[in-house]
C-alpha cells in the first residue's frame, strides 16, 4: 500500500488552488476559448461580418458553412464569431460599471449605517421595483439608434441594484467584527478601514456576484436584441442573430440555434467561474487543508 502523500503546506506564499479543481479548469478553458474565438474572428473565417453571399440564402450547415447561412445569405458562423465580440464586450464593460457602482453604494450604505443606509437602500428598493426590461425597452424605443457605448452604460447602470444589497448586507456584518474595531483602536481612518478591513473581506460576495451580473447582461442584451431594440443591424450580436433566425426557425433552425448555444455555453462557464473564484480567493480555504 503506497504511503499517503506528504501534505506540504505552501507556508509563506499561499497560491490560489485552482489547479486542483476540475470545475475551475473547465470553466476557465471554456472562457478562454470563447474569448480567443472572439479575438481571432477575422482569422478564423474568410467571410465578412455582414458579407452577403448572393444565392446562398438559408443553406443548412455544411463543410463550407459550418453553421449554415441566414436569410440574407450571410455565414452564421462568421456572424456568431463577430457577434461574440459585441456580446462579450458589452457584458464585460457593463459588468465593470455595475460592479463598481453596486460595491460603492453597498459599502457606503453598510459602513455608514443610520440615515445614509436607510436612504440608499430605499433608493435601491425603488430601483429594484422598476421592471428593468420594460424600462430598457421604453428607453430604447424612445432612442432607437442608441450608440453602443451608451447601451453599455445603460445596461451597467441598471444592473447594480441587487449587488449593492448583497454588498451592503455583507459590510453590515463585517463592520461588527472585532478586527474592524481593532483597526479603529489602532488609529485607522474610515477610508483605510473600508478599503483594508471591510471590502477585502467582502470580495467573495462581489466576485461571486460579478459573473452572475455578466451572465445576466449577456442574456438581457440577447433578449433586447431579439426583441429588435438592442444591437441594431447590420451589427451582429448573439441576440440579434437569434432575432434574424426567429422568423425562419421552422425551416432553418440553425440560424437561431447556434447563437443560442453560444449564449448558453458562455453563461454557464461564467457562472461556474464565479463559484471557483469564491473558493479560490477565500483565504480561509488556502493551505492547512
Amino acid at each position: 500500500m503506497p504511503l499517503p502523500p506528504l501534505l506540504i503546506s505552501g507556508a509563506s506564499t499561499p497560491a490560489p488552488r485552482w489547479r486542483g479543481s476540475k470545475t475551475a479548469v473547465v470553466a476557465c478553458a471554456a472562457l478562454v476559448v470563447v474569448v480567443l474565438l472572439a479575438l481571432l474572428a477575422p482569422v478564423l473565417t474568410s467571410y465578412g461580418e455582414a458579407q452577403i453571399l448572393p444565392g446562398s440564402e438559408l443553406l443548412p450547415p455544411s463543410r463550407t458553412h459550418l453553421f449554415g447561412t441566414d436569410v440574407l445569405g450571410r455565414d452564421v458562423l462568421t456572424r456568431v464569431l463577430y457577434g461574440s465580440r459585441i456580446s462579450l464586450g458589452l457584458a464585460f464593460l457593463a459588468t465593470v460599471v455595475a460592479t463598481a457602482l453596486g460595491t460603492a453604494v453597498g459599502a457606503a450604505a453598510g459602513y455608514s449605517g443610520g440615515r445614509v443606509d436607510a436612504l440608499l437602500m430605499r433608493l435601491v428598493d425603488t430601483l429594484l421595483a422598476l421592471p428593468r426590461v420594460l424600462l430598457l425597452i421604453g428607453l430604447l424605443a424612445i432612442w432607437p439608434q442608441l450608440p453602443l457605448h451608451v447601451f453599455v452604460l445603460v445596461l451597467g447602470l441598471t444592473a447594480w441594484f441587487p449587488l449593492s444589497r448583497l454588498v451592503r448586507a455583507e459590510v453590515r456584518a463585517i463592520v461588527t467584527r472585532d478586527h474592524v474595531l481593532a483597526a479603529r483602536a489602532l488609529g485607522s481612518g474610515h477610508l483605510q478601514i473600508v478599503f483594508r478591513h471591510v471590502l477585502p473581506n467582502a470580495i467573495g460576495t462581489v466576485l461571486v456576484a460579478a459573473p452572475l451580473i455578466a451572465g445576466g447582461v449577456i442574456v438581457l442584451e440577447a433578449g433586447l436584441s431579439f426583441l429588435g431594440v438592442g444591437v441594431q443591424p447590420p451589427t451582429a450580436s448573439w441576440g440579434s442573430i437569434a432575432y434574424d433566425g426567429f422568423e425562419v426557425v421552422n425551416s432553418a433552425w440553425w440560424v437561431a440555434l447556434f447563437p443560442g448555444l453560444a449564449i448558453a455555453f458562455t453563461v454557464t462557464a461564467i457562472n461556474m467561474l464565479g463559484d471557483v473564484l469564491r473558493d479560490a480567493l477565500d483565504p480561509r480555504q488556502l493551505p492547512l487543508r
Binding site: 472585532d178 478586527h179 481593532a182 489602532l186 473581506n201 483565504p283
Partner: protein
C-alpha cells in the same frame, strides 16, 4: 539642561498618566437608557499595572472602549465625563487628533485573538500597518519593524511567521501578534481587555509573563481588564473592582486579597479556587448583575449581598475613603458591626437553589 518636554500641562512627575473622572457612558436604546458605565473615576500612573475586575455586564469593556473613544451609537459618553491622558483631555479632542492617540500613545489588546485580526492579510502586513498609520515609515521599514516586534514578543521564527495568515497561527501566537501590534508605536498605555480569557491555561501564563516582561522593558502602563482575580494577582499592583457600572472597591492588590472590604469583592474572592485551601465546593454569588437600564436604587449589589440592611435600600453608598489608598462603596465602612450578621441574600431567597 532642560528636562525633556512632557505633556502640555503636566504639572510634574506626580501627575498620573491617565485620570478618568466621573466617566459615564450611556446607551440610549429603545428599551431605555442603559447606564453601562455610571460615574467611574480612577487613575493609572506611569509604568503601573492596574487591574479592572468585575463579572460580565458590569461595565469593564465599555470603560475600556470609552477610554479609546470607540463607543458607537446608540452609546454615548455623557457630558461632564473626563478622560485626561498625558495631560490632554481626550473627550474633547477632534476625531483626527484622537486617531493619532489610538494605537500610538494608547493601544488595546483584545480578548479574541482570532477575530481581532483581519483574515485576508498576513500578520506581518497587519503589524506593519500600524507603523504605516502613525509614522511615515516606508513599506520595507515598517515590515522590518514588524518582524522585530514579533521577535520581541517571543514568536518563534518571526521572519517566516510574519508571512502567514491569522488562521495559520495558534491562539497563543495570534495573541502575540496582537500584542506586537499594540506595542508597535511604544504606547504609554496598553488597555488589555481580557487578553488571556480565550487562551489555554498554559498559554495564559506565557502571555501574562510576556506582558510583564515587555512592560519592564518599555515602561508602558497597563490597564488589565479581566474577570479573573488570578490574573490580577499575577500582574497588577492596584485593583479597581467594578460592579453595575460603578467602582465598588479600590485597593492595592495585597490588602484586597487579605481583607476585601466590599461584599462583592469578598464574593469574588470566595468564588476563586485557591491552592492550599481545602473546600469541597466553591462559593458562588447568588443572582446576576441587574440590567443596566434598570439599576436598583440604593446599593446596586443589595439583592446579592449577605449583609444588606434597610440603609442599603434607601441610600446609595458613596465611595468611602478608608485610607491607605483603599476605597469601598459599602455602608459597612461606616457601620462595620453589621458584618457580624450575615444572612441569606435576597437573590438567593427569590431563586431557590437547584
Amino acid at each position: 539642561m532642560t528636562p525633556p518636554p512632557k505633556g502640555a500641562d503636566a504639572p510634574g512627575a506626580e501627575a498620573p498618566l491617565l485620570s478618568v473622572t466621573d466617566l459615564r457612558t450611556y446607551f440610549h436604546t429603545n428599551n431605555g437608557v442603559a447606564r453601562a458605565v455610571d460615574g467611574v473615576s480612577f487613575t493609572v500612573a506611569q509604568g503601573e499595572t492596574v487591574g479592572l475586575v468585575g463579572e460580565s455586564g458590569c461595565g469593564k469593556s465599555v470603560t475600556a472602549l470609552s477610554l479609546m473613544r470607540l463607543i458607537q451609537s446608540p452609546g454615548r459618553i455623557e457630558p461632564g465625563s473626563s478622560v485626561r491622558f498625558e495631560g490632554t483631555e481626550l473627550l474633547t479632542l477632534s476625531e483626527a487628533d484622537m486617531r493619532r492617540v489610538r494605537g500610538n500613545r494608547m493601544a488595546m489588546v483584545f480578548q479574541e485573538p482570532m477575530s481581532a485580526l483581519n483574515p485576508v492579510f498576513t500578520v506581518g502586513d497587519q503589524i506593519a500597518e500600524v507603523a504605516r498609520i502613525h509614522s511615515r515609515a516606508s513599506r520595507r521599514d515598517a515590515w522590518r519593524q514588524a518582524v522585530a516586534m514579533l521577535e520581541l514578543t517571543g514568536m518563534p521564527a518571526p521572519e517566516q511567521r510574519a508571512h502567514e495568515y491569522p488562521h495559520q497561527l495558534s491562539g497563543g501566537m495570534r495573541q502575540r501578534v496582537l500584542i506586537a501590534m499594540a506595542l508597535m508605536m511604544n504606547p504609554a498605555l496598553i488597555v488589555a481587555d481580557e487578553p488571556t480569557t480565550a487562551l489555554d491555561v498554559t498559554i495564559q501564563a506565557q502571555i501574562l509573563e510576556l506582558l510583564a516582561d515587555l512592560q519592564r522593558r518599555t515602561g508602558t502602563s497597563i490597564l488589565m481588564i479581566t474577570h479573573d482575580l488570578g490574573v490580577i494577582a499575577e500582574t497588577a499592583r492596584r485593583v479597581i473592582v467594578m460592579y453595575a457600572g460603578e467602582v465598588v472597591e479600590q485597593s492595592a492588590v495585597g490588602p484586597l486579597f487579605a481583607t476585601p472590604h466590599h461584599p462583592y469583592t469578598e464574593g469574588l474572592l470566595a468564588a476563586m479556587p485557591r491552592m492550599g485551601r481545602r473546600r469541597d465546593r466553591l462559593r458562588v454569588i447568588p443572582g446576576t448583575v441587574p440590567p443596566p437600564t434598570d439599576w436598583p436604587t440604593g446599593c446596586r449589589f443589595r439583592a446579592r449581598c449577605q449583609y444588606s440592611w434597610d440603609r442599603c435600600a434607601n441610600e446609595h453608598p458613596p465611595l468611602y475613603d478608608l485610607g491607605d489608598g483603599r476605597r469601598s462603596r459599602c455602608h459597612l465602612a461606616v457601620e462595620p458591626g453589621r458584618r457580624a450578621h450575615p444572612h441569606e441574600p435576597l437573590a438567593a431567597q427569590a431563586v431557590p437553589a437547584r
